[in-house]
Symmetry: C2
Subunit: 202 residues, 2 copies
Amino acid sequence: MSRSHPTPKPSAKRETILDAAQTAFLEVGYAATSMDGVAARATVSKATIYAHFESKDLLFAAVIRRRCDRSDAFAPLADKADARSTLRLVGRRLLDLLLQPDTLAMYRVVVAESARQPDLARAFYESGPGAGKAQIAAVIAELIQRGELAGVEPWQAADLFVGMLRTDLFMRTMLGLPQPEGRTIEAAVEAAVETMVRAFGR
Amino acid sequence: MSRSHPTPKPSAKRETILDAAQTAFLEVGYAATSMDGVAARATVSKATIYAHFESKDLLFAAVIRRRCDRSDAFAPLADKADARSTLRLVGRRLLDLLLQPDTLAMYRVVVAESARQPDLARAFYESGPGAGKAQIAAVIAELIQRGELAGVEPWQAADLFVGMLRTDLFMRTMLGLPQPEGRTIEAAVEAAVETMVRAFGR
DNA sequence: GGAAAACTAAACCCCGCAGTTCAGTTTCGG
DNA sequence: CCGAAACTGAACTGCGGGGTTTAGTTTTCC
């Protein structure tokens, strides 16, 4: 009776499969991942996978979407700090997140498949960069309201700030290139924060 | 006597094949490109391709490297302009380049294959982002020397500037998402330039 | 003009992999 | 405790694609 695939209800097996698939997809990419491989990794029979997911494409989509949904929102800020230390904290958190191996892998694989699965690209953007930007814009809006910053729209400032965090360090790490010695996360955050304060500080 | 594949000497057929391969790889990615497809597009027999290139991998590498080599260096600047207009010009050029469909396609495909072909990732970085950064750093160094800018190292400033150009607009375009109305290239450049001048202008 | 080198077209090998089937076993709800 | 549903494992289908071969045709260059 072809009980097909209604709203993805959580189940132990289902999660196991998703975990294995996530590992594989993020590690070697979509094309290089085989369903037999996923089955083996999940210690599950291939038939079971196809009982839970219609196709490789949809399994992939489910993996990405799950990871997007549970994207941990930024913890609320300890208020009342000045612009410099607030931005420092936010920037540090963001850059830490961006440089995590899983985050980078996710970025790579979504970028690679974005043409083939446009709706996935959208979901990724909205729950990742989009959501992050919104939260940072909110923080900046408050800094402006408190008179700590001035002369920009919050949204624009967030865009600039995030841009300054996602620099060479990010690009090189994402491409798997060795890092030149001195360029640490702290230094990158510091440079971005300093620039923001200089340009828009009171 | 296995006359294998010595130093890639340019030949008409060879270029034809590379052109076709480039189109295919950039359009649909590495995995989704078939050698039969490339042969058809180049109106060349598959055997000829394999007479020129050992394997699909090496053909791909040749495509990427060729595109890297001929990456057009920035034209020299009309000197003696102030920081604002100089940065405006440089920023505009860079962002125009970054948003070209071919550039984006290249970025996507290299990111996707970077894990599988690390040396390609390196070549790409060095001839693309790396070279660009160096040139912009040089421009900024001159602006500093002329006293137009101050308070940053050229290299760091270039990093920040490029970061501010490669923002939401870039990310969304790369993912193939529709652009929100107002965000034009000019606006993005303007914001980055203004921030630079505010932060580091004399 | 003629031989060597380049090229073509098409068949061919082979393998990996998406997806299916099925007979038998385990799990689980009532 | 029983029956249904979930799961297993392994075999099987089908196909697309990387790479090779061959026999014949064109190009090149002396």
